[in-house]
C-alpha cells in the first residue's frame, strides 16, 4: 500500500514539475540579447569559417580549455581507482574480426584527419575526430590487437597531456600580448588548427584510455 502511494506521489510530483517547466518555457518572451548576430559579426576575425568551431575554440575557447582538463581529470580518476599495475594479455579475437579491425583502423584514422581538417569550414573538429580515433583504438582492443592499460608509461602520459599542454602554452603565451587566448586575427586560424591537432591526438588517447583502462579487469577473478 505504502509503495503504491509513494509511487503515485513521485509520479504526481514529477509530472507537475515537468508540466510547470514546459509551460514556463512556452511562456517566455524573445530574449533581449541575440548572440548569433554577434557571432556572425565577428566570424571574419575568428580565424575559422564554421560558427560552432569559432565559438568552441575562439569566442568561448576558455570553456574548452577547462573542459579538456575535465576529460583528463576523469582519466586520472579512472587510473587512480584501478589497482592493477600490469594489464592482462589481450584475448585473441576471431581471425575474421581481426582482419576487419586491421582494415578499419587505418580508415578511421583517415576519417579523423578529415574531420579535423573539415572542422574549420563545416561540421567536425577536434572532438569528433578524437572520438573517431578513440573508437579505432577500442575496436583494436576488442579484437585483441591492442592490450588494455595498466599504469601509463612516460610516452603515453606525454601523448595524453600533449593536447592540453599545447592549449595551455598557447593560452599563456598570448597572455603576454594582452589577454588569455586572445589570438591575433592574422594567426588565429593557424593557432586554432595547432590546438585542434594536439587535441585530436590527446582526446583520441584519453577517450580510448577511458575504455582501455576500465576494461582491463573485464571478467578477471584475481
Amino acid at each position: 500500500m505504502i509503495p503504491l502511494l509513494k509511487r503515485a506521489a513521485v509520479i504526481l510530483a514529477a509530472a507537475s514539475f515537468a508540466g510547470a517547466l514546459v509551460f514556463a518555457m512556452l511562456d517566455l518572451p524573445a530574449p533581449g540579447v541575440h548572440l548569433p548576430a554577434a557571432v556572425e559579426a565577428n566570424m571574419a576575425a575568428s580565424g575559422v569559417a564554421h560558427p560552432v568551431t569559432a565559438v568552441l575554440l575562439n569566442f568561448r575557447g576558455y570553456d574548452t580549455l577547462l573542459e579538456v582538463g575535465v576529460l583528463l581529470l576523469a582519466l586520472l580518476g579512472v587510473l587512480a581507482v584501478g589497482a592493477r599495475a600490469t594489464p592482462p594479455a589481450p584475448a585473441p579475437g576471431e581471425p575474421v574480426k581481426r582482419m576487419f579491425a586491421r582494415l578499419a583502423a587505418p580508415l578511421m584514422v583517415l576519417v579523423a584527419v578529415y574531420l579535423l581538417w573539415a572542422g574549420a569550414i563545416q561540421p567536425g573538429g577536434a572532438f569528433q575526430a578524437g572520438a573517431v580515433l578513440g573508437a579505432a583504438a577500442v575496436l583494436l582492443h576488442l579484437t585483441g590487437i591492442l592490450p588494455g592499460w595498466g599504469a601509463p608509461g612516460l610516452r603515453l602520459r606525454a601523448g595524453l597531456a600533449a593536447g592540453f599542454l599545447i592549449f595551455l602554452v598557447v593560452a599563456g603565451a598570448l597572455l603576454a600580448q594582452g589577454a588569455v587566448l586572445a589570438y591575433p586575427p592574422a594567426q588565429a586560424g593557424r593557432l586554432i588548427l595547432l590546438i585542434e591537432a594536439g587535441l585530436t591526438v590527446s582526446l583520441g588517447l584519453i577517450l580510448a584510455g577511458l575504455f582501455l583502462a576500465l576494461s582491463r579487469d573485464s571478467g578477471d577473478e584475481a
Binding site: A20, L21, F23, A24, M25, D27, L28, P29, P31, G32, V33, H34, L35, A38, V39, N42, N58, F59, R60, G61, Y62, D63, L66, E67, G69, V70, L72, L73, A74, L76, G77, L79, A80, V81, A83, A151, L154, R157, A158, L160, A161, F164, L165, L168, A171, G172, L175, A176, G178, A179, V180, L181, A182, Y183
Partner: protein, 475 residues
Amino acid sequence: MTDPIAWLILLPLFWATAAFLLGPGRGARLAIAALLAQCGLALQLAADVIDGGARTHAVGGWGAPLGIDLAVGGLSALMLVLTQAIALPLAVYARAYFADGAPAVRYFWTLTGFLLAGLNALFLAADLFNLYVTLELVGLAAVGLVAAGGSARQVAAALRYLFAALVGSVMYLLGVALIYGAHGTVSLQTLAPLVDARAPAAVWIACGLMLAGLMLKTAIFPFHYWLPPAHGGAPAPVSALLSALVVKASFYLILRLSLEVFAPLAATAATALGLLGAAAIAWGSWQALRTVHIKMLVAWSTVAQLGYLFLVFPLLAPDGLALQAGVMQAIAHGLAKAAMFAAVGVLMLATGRDTLEGLAGVAGRMPLTLFAFGLAGVTLMGLPPSGGFLAKWLLIEAALTHGQWGWVAVVIAGGLLAAAYVFRVLRQAFLLAPADSPFHPVPRSMEWTAFVLATASMLLGLQGVELMSLLAAGS
C-alpha cells in the same frame, strides 16, 4: 602581461599537468614551489583590488557577452587568498603524510593541482556556463581524491559524492539553459540589469534549480548525506582540502549569484535557507556528539558549521553585516577545519587508531598537535579572539539590528554544541594511555603545519578590519 587573474588559473593547470608527466606520486616539491608563487599572486591581486577596485579580464579579448569574462572583486579576492593560504601548508603537510608512498599518493599531486585550478577559476568566473565547467572540474578532482585511497569504504563514499556532485551540476545546467533561453546570454554582468522581480516563470524555476543544485554540492542539511563518509573516509590532507575549501566554493556561488544577479528573486528563499542552516547546526552537532570515530566527528562538525553560512541569507541587508559574518565564517572555518583534519591525521598516524577511545594519552605525547586541535576548536566554538568569534559576533549583531532574535539563539546554541563535541576529544586525550598502546613517531612538519593553520584561524579575529576593508573594496 603578468595579470594575476589569469596566472592564478593557468599556473595550477601547468603544475598539475607537469606532475602527471613526472609520474605517479611525483610533483610534491613542484607543487609547493608553485603554491608559494600562487600565494604571492593572490596577495598581489588583493592589493590591486584594494587600490583599484573590482576589475575584469576579457578572455580571448572579446568581452562579454560574446566572450567569457573573468572578474575579481573584494569577495573573490578574499576567497582566492584563503584558498592559496590553506593549500600551501596542506601541501607541506601532504608531502610528509604521503612520504611512505601509500596508493592514495599516486595521483594526489596532479588531482590537487586540477582541484586548485578549478577553485581559482570558479572564484574568478563571471559567466554561468563557465561556472558549470569549473564546478565539474572541482567536483571530479575532489571525487578522484576521495577514491584514490582505493578501499571499499572510500570507493563507496566517492560514488555517493560523485552522484551528488553530478546531479547538482545537471540541475545547475538546466537552470543555465533556461536563463539562456530567457535572456540570450549567460554573462553575469549582462544578466544583472535584465533580471527583476517581474521575471518570467522560467527564470524563477531556473533560480530554484541552480540553488538546489548548489545546495546539494554544498551539503547543506538535508543534502548533507554524502559529506560525512567522503570527508571522514578520505586521507587526512584530502579531507582538509575538501572540508576547508571545496564545500565553500558552492556556498560562495550561492552568495554571489544571490547578491549580484538574482537579488530581486533571492529574498523569497532567504528564511527557508536560514532555517535549513539552523537544522544543519543542530543535526550535525548531534551526530558529532554521537559518533565513535574521531574523523567522522570532524566531518559532522563540518555539516554543522556549514549551517552558519546559511544563517546569513535571511539577514542580508545593505549594511553588509551579514555578508561580513558569512565571509568571516567561511574563512575562519576553512582555516580551523584544515587545522583540525591535519591534527587528527597526525593523531591517527601516531596512535594507529581511528576511534576517540584510541586518543587516550596523546596529550602527553603530542602536546603541539593537541594544542592545534584545541585552538581550532576554540574557533569553532566562537570564543574570542578567534575568527569564529568575530563571525558569530557579526551574525548576532546583524540579527539584533533587524530584530530577528531567533537567529541569536541558534548561534549561541551552536557554539555550546561545538564546545561539547570538541571537549569530547580533549577529555579523551588527557586520559592515561594503556601501558601497552603502540605509538609511532610522526614528522614534525606535519605537527607544525596543523599548528600554523590553527593559529591563523585564532589570530584572524585580530585582522578582521583589514579583511573586511578588502571585502568592501570590490563591491
